[in-house]
Amino acid sequence: MIEVRELTKRYGGTAAVDGLSFQVRPGTVTGFLGPNGAGKSTTMRILLGLAAATSGEALVNGGRYAELRRPMLEVGALLDASAVHGGRRAFDHLGWLARSNGIGRRRVAEVLERVGLAGAARRRVGGFSLGMRQRLGIAAALLGDPGVLLFDEPVNGLDPDGVRWIRELMRGLAAEGRTVLVSSHLMSEMELTADRLVIVGRGRLIADTSVRELAERFGRGVLVRSPRPAELTGVLSAAGGSVEDDAGGALTVAGLDVADIGERAAAHGIPLYEVRPRSASLEEAYMELTAGSAEFEAAIS
């Protein structure tokens, strides 16, 4: 369980995070979405006690992170996979981490196995590819078998296999009842991974919703195909729907749902070839929500 309440972080005159509040519940993957510079990383760094909040609070399991005695047993985090000492061997990188929280060496071997790095345990981290570093960072997050996990942009730089592996891993962790918060600036990725979405822009909350709700909220009416469009238009208009003619003979109906349309058409004996709700892709919804909140926008688009 993660709770962020009225969190604000200022750097000089700029607010990186501005009165942000949201909750992340156990058993779900929550996507933390926003354009670059929206304050995602800053929020995560405050959650982990790396940066101090200007005001407000960020709680993990009801308390402040700094008060945890052995933090790795409660919270695992992957912030920056490249933030490792290149001269150290993979096993030793996890080794000192384990030692810092009283975790045994056997667990180190276990997590290396789980992330598929068992064969590279004796290799120096400096020679690792970005994908291997991401895996090592995830191994570090899993080391203490924590109930809360934070991943900052975990799929950045990964190949399709790696992306799918991370997606399945996160779904698996949530299914085990853990709280999983994953930041990303890619809606398309979160659409496949997350149950809930916390969308931020310029440090402020834009939406706190489920993936389904978001899709529904950006619904664009119902698409209907029929061999007798003119007749159907009349029927549906009479029933209170507003009907638009699409190019290609399809109709877009607003104000009536799929069931209404089906019943009215059946009552008048009008055959239907297709009836389905139209929704904007989540990518479009996200772009619409975050429009104007990107920190650096191209002057001409």
């Binding site: 982990l48 006690g49 001269g87 981490l97």
Partner: protein
């Protein structure tokens, strides 16, 4: 605290830089032995009259020149290398800052103290073994004469490690920390020679490098212009350590990682 110390020790012993620093210390121990061997042979070739005037340095003299530099690099890297890689974020997230800071200081100082004391002891004993029965001054002098130097070399090196460590925690940059420390150890003492007496000597005496010599100069090293007694010099060096550690701690605890 045990966890923090064990983790920092694990980190330090698996860092390549530590191995390099210890290798440099070892190399200077070997160099010191070579220097003793050379002096012994030089002695053999001297006429009795020149032997009376002969003034040999302590057996560990080459090592004692290298130790402060090794101490400073170790102390600085202990903290600045983590800022350079960004690993400081992970360290601060897994350990409370107070404990992390204390553990880092303790481990770095402990390693340097041990390396300096062991290296010096080996260099001095090797020197005596090499010189054998020859009555070379200093090298062949009773071991008891060199005891204060032997005992204090470790703590003085540890003090340099801690000063660099504290400064590193403030500056968060390897280059800035090591440059500042080396400038203060090598350049400033030389510059004091340009100042009129007695100010030049006084300032020289109060700089860490001067303090080290006033606390535990190797026997036989020609005395510098120091004006402080050993205990006073030790107290001043401790003030340097306390100020550097205090400033570093404040920065480490207060500023965002």
């Amino acid at each position: 605290m045990t966890d923090a110390i064990a983790a920092e020790w694990y980190k330090l012993r698996t860092a390549c830089s530590t191995a390099w620093i210890l290798a440099v210390v070892a190399a200077f121990v070997v160099l010191s032995a070579l220097s003793s061997w050379y002096l012994a042979h030089y002695w053999d070739g001297l006429s009795p009259r020149r032997r009376e005037e002969f003034d040999a340095p302590s057996a560990d003299q080459p090592l004692s020149v290298a130790l402060p530099v090794c101490a400073v690099v170790l102390g600085a890297l202990t903290v600045t290398s983590e800022y350079a890689t960004g690993m400081i974020g992970t360290s601060v997230a897994v350990l409370p800052r107070r404990r992390l800071y204390a553990a880092k200081a303790l481990v770095a100082a402990g390693v340097m103290l041990t390396a300096a004391a062991a290296g010096t002891a080996v260099a001095v004993l090797a020197g005596r073994a090499i010189v054998g029965g020859r009555p070379v001054p200093v090298l062949g002098a009773p071991l008891a004469d060199g005891v204060p130097h032997l005992l204090l070399t470790g703590p003085v090196a540890a003090a340099f490690t801690l000063i660099a460590f504290g400064l590193g925690a403030v500056l968060r940059s390897t280059a800035a920390t090591i440059t500042t420390m080396v400038a203060q150890m090598v350049v400033l003492p030389t510059l004091t020679g340009l100042l009129p007496s007695p100010y030049g000597e006084r300032i020289w005496s109060a700089l860490p490098e001067g303090l080290a010599e006033q606390i535990a100069a190797p026997p036989g090293v020609s005395a510098g212009p120091g004006v402080l007694s050993a205990p006073v010099a030790a107290a001043v060096l401790l003030v340097y350590v306390a100020v550097a550690l205090g400033a570093g701690r404040l920065s480490f605890l207060r500023r965002d990682a």
